[in-house]
């Protein structure tokens, strides 16, 4: 019972940290229309497949919090998506509405997975080493392959999926480890 409560708390902490890591990576790149658009698309896709969960209580932007409460109640990823939408709106306003224009998006995408690596490296610090080497290592390898193939928009989808699945797998891994320790 205590293990379950601890695992739930840890899962919640991981999801909040996941939000912070992704948002920071996105904000750092808010001059790049390509990255913003890719991230928004990734988060829309992730938000569409993730089920209900606890809302993020640590959102410090009141306007964003109000928006997520009114439009996306209950979803784990909804605060993240709402925050990203706010960042996109800000960036779009600062660029005079040119964020989505075809002039900004070249037909030949540039492939730069280094930002994705930085986000995942920061995320890795919160996870068990085995999950980092196995699960996260495979995601990074997969991201590099996709980047080499020019599938740039998929990189941010993979980053979001990697963060979510490694969070879930870490909770499972730690719970099993705790179970073994208790049996002994």
């Amino acid at each position: 019972m205590q293990d379950d409560a601890a695992a739930r708390r840890w899962r919640d902490t991981l999801l909040v940290k996941a939000q912070e890591v992704v948002l920071e990576a996105i904000r750092a790149d808010n001059e790049s229309a390509d990255v913003m658009r890719s991230a928004e698309r990734a988060l829309r896709m992730a938000g569409a497949v993730v089920g209900p969960g606890r809302r993020n209580e640590r959102a410090n932007d009141q306007e964003t919090t109000a928006r997520q409460a009114s439009t996306h109640p209950g979803g784990v990823l909804e605060p993240l998506r709402a925050n990203v939408e706010a960042v996109v709106d800000d960036a779009e306003a600062s660029e005079g509405g040119s964020l989505y224009s075809s002039q900004v998006h070249s037909s030949k995408p540039r492939v730069e997975p280094a930002r994705a690596h930085r986000a995942l490296d920061r995320w890795a610090a919160l996870l068990p080493q085995r999950v980092v080497n196995e699960d996260l290592g495979d995601y990074i390898e997969d991201i590099n392959r996709r980047a080499a193939e020019g599938q740039r928009w998929l990189i941010w989808v993979r980053v979001v999926v990697a963060i979510l699945t490694t969070a879930v797998n870490s909770v499972g891994y730690v719970r099993k480890a705790l179970g073994k320790a208790t049996v002994r």
Binding site: E134, D135, D138, I140
Partner: protein, 101 residues
């Protein structure tokens, strides 16, 4: 849908491997009809290892994995025995579909 445990054991009969390669191997062996979720593979591999059906070892750190090593898995003698039993059961299951029943 083919059980993930069975698919992993069958994929490892042909030799040691790691997560991404196992997914590719299963996809290739089934001509793309069985697609495994990347997030599901390692938890099951760890489970099979804890049951004594697999053993694992670290490879060298690789730059394409951000300096992290791959974790390779291979069948133990018990794992090989279980994999053969599973294969026989699958063949039995497939016989009617193949017109062999």
């Amino acid at each position: 849908m083919l059980d993930t445990r069975i698919a992993l054991l069958q994929a490892l009969i042909s030799g040691e491997s790691y997560g991404l390669e196992i997914i590719e191997r299963v996809k290739s062996l089934t001509k793309g009809r069985v697609l495994m979720m990347q997030g599901r593979v390692y938890p099951v591999l760890r489970e099979l290892e804890s049951e004594g059906l697999l053993e694992s070892f670290d490879g060298d750190p690789l730059p394409e994995r951000g300096g992290r090593p791959r974790k390779y898995y291979r069948l133990t003698a018990e794992g090989r025995r279980v994999a053969r039993q599973d294969a026989a059961a699958i063949v039995g299951l497939l016989k009617p579909g193949l017109g062999m029943a």
